[in-house]
Symmetry: C2
Subunit: 381 residues, 2 copies
Amino acid sequence: MIYLDNAATTFPKPESVYQAVEYANRNLSFNAGRGSYKLAREATKLIDETKGKLLSLVDAPGSAKVVFTPSITIAINEILNGLSLVPGDNIYVSPYEHNAVARTVHLLCKKKNVQVIEIPLDRETLEIDVERLKYLFSKKIPACVCCTHVSNVTGYILPVEQIFRLAKQYSAVTVLDTAQSMGVVEVNAKKIGADFIAFAGHKTLYGPMGIGGFIDVNGIKLNGFIVGGTGSDSLNLEMPEKSPEKHESSSQNIVAIAGLRAALDEVHVKEFYEDEKRLTEYLIQELQKIDDVTLYLPPENVRVGMVSLNVEGYKAEDIGLILDEDYDIAVRTGYHCAPFVHKWLKDEDYAGTVRVSVGRFVRTEDIDSVVRAIGEIVGEI
Amino acid sequence: MIYLDNAATTFPKPESVYQAVEYANRNLSFNAGRGSYKLAREATKLIDETKGKLLSLVDAPGSAKVVFTPSITIAINEILNGLSLVPGDNIYVSPYEHNAVARTVHLLCKKKNVQVIEIPLDRETLEIDVERLKYLFSKKIPACVCCTHVSNVTGYILPVEQIFRLAKQYSAVTVLDTAQSMGVVEVNAKKIGADFIAFAGHKTLYGPMGIGGFIDVNGIKLNGFIVGGTGSDSLNLEMPEKSPEKHESSSQNIVAIAGLRAALDEVHVKEFYEDEKRLTEYLIQELQKIDDVTLYLPPENVRVGMVSLNVEGYKAEDIGLILDEDYDIAVRTGYHCAPFVHKWLKDEDYAGTVRVSVGRFVRTEDIDSVVRAIGEIVGEI
């Protein structure tokens, strides 16, 4: 199989990640931080070390805390539902959001009577229109701005630093979704201006399934959302007051955390960015040679990791099926859990896009294979 | 190490569980149900099979659905927060609840202005006082009754069938927490009268960390709580309407599910119950021979899996430390994330209890070792 669905889950993982998961599953599957015995303490140490590596990766300020959750979706639910919003508050989201954000803010609207406003795009380039956003903020003051770092549909790298800098002029709470960036695109907590940086272990960080979370950069108070046992202060019906304890109920998934720790040891952001950028541009360059292929491309300087495309005369899904069955190539097709962006891409006739996403272990030959396959499919029309 | 903390996480797991996790981590870590390629479909098949095994285990009616969540805590949050409650509604919980339930209903009280009522106990035996409960229900009609099956502090097996039968006379929604029972104590969905049966993968089922969920027995509508991408109907900002899709946002942890599937193949409830019962009674019998040890015992016919105790003159935590450091025996000490029961046990002077919990791989010699160790500690006073 040629695997080009790395934006869903990166595959394969570094060998050390597999070994760490296997080791922890057999030898360290205990309830960390809640027992007084050696292996429970060892599990706690592993968690603390992993958090330390994440804080280093994003160059976090000393007061920042890492909260582990079982997925980035849960992290985003925990953050957005934890905000102290009042009816009429404006939550800004980009049109590139995943349903982890889009459905969460939609539900918040109904529960708390807040407004969701989409950050405006330039109609031509589909880049964030910073000037119009500036104007919009002045008219409808933002209480919260939640933004993905890299689009999981087009690979567009959003100007989140600019967006959050504007948001902070209104003291809005800023939330960054790094599912498609952390580990490949630089995420610097001191520069980027996000109060909360949500991350997924199993995507660009190359960790295993089952671990995600967020970095609480500035200690902004979040109300409790998911609650449960913390192994601490058990007689208190309130969760502990602060991050990370407040947001880490139930047994920590020490097996997945062990895998993430190993994964973090293998991360070299600059090198990986250059590799993925080279592969992405090569993919684009080769696809552009094929007639009847529509590419949904952000400008060259702000794209990485994946390409969305369609082939004239085919639904996106059909291309996925042919690539799987006739070529053993794995891509993803459809709307990619991103509800807003398709009205900009105007891909409804194809029922979404075919997304080819590269990764650390993708070779130039793999790109050649998928391009050749698409060329053949087009040739058969 | 002699491991007697099985009520926190069972250890070890069957060899097949370790192998299944290792295999799935290396070969099947894909986003199930969201791709059109072979391995994504294989992941989907694995999930469906695992759900089928769970439904068989509890002899569920044909319409029942399994919802996977990353933990039982999240399952309980999803259920209780999803109920259509109105201010003034009464939620009954037992005094044996874990903070996964206790803190969740406490937060619900504040958010929805509902009342939490503790199910009454018999002062002598600390069993559920069914007669008084009957009276209480008639005075304060239950909207929801949420109950653990087996206490994670004393191993008391609650008469949940009776409790839920009474609750159903008022059409209350019934929720069962089987964290300490499924796989060891019979859970029969057709008999037990629960609308929702929450389960933990990593405890009495002997699966890995990172997987839990609930069985939606009767299709009672739950509102959305945690939301996100489902890989289906992506343009819709609402979650799909029904279980399981409505409650399964974000990538499924296929690695943990593969481990759970293997674990389910090894479950033999009747045999395991008898083994654990024998070990528990032997532990009690031997501990009763030691002076200065207080045992917190439910009646003999309704206890299994663990024993809570204290040693005169020691805090619970100190006993845990001595057992770890001097004897390499792992037990758990303190309040065990169960906030209500300690006022009944009257263990505050000891700051909780020392909990010795048995499991599938505990041998009679292990019981002898912990009893001998406690005897020696007492002898040193």
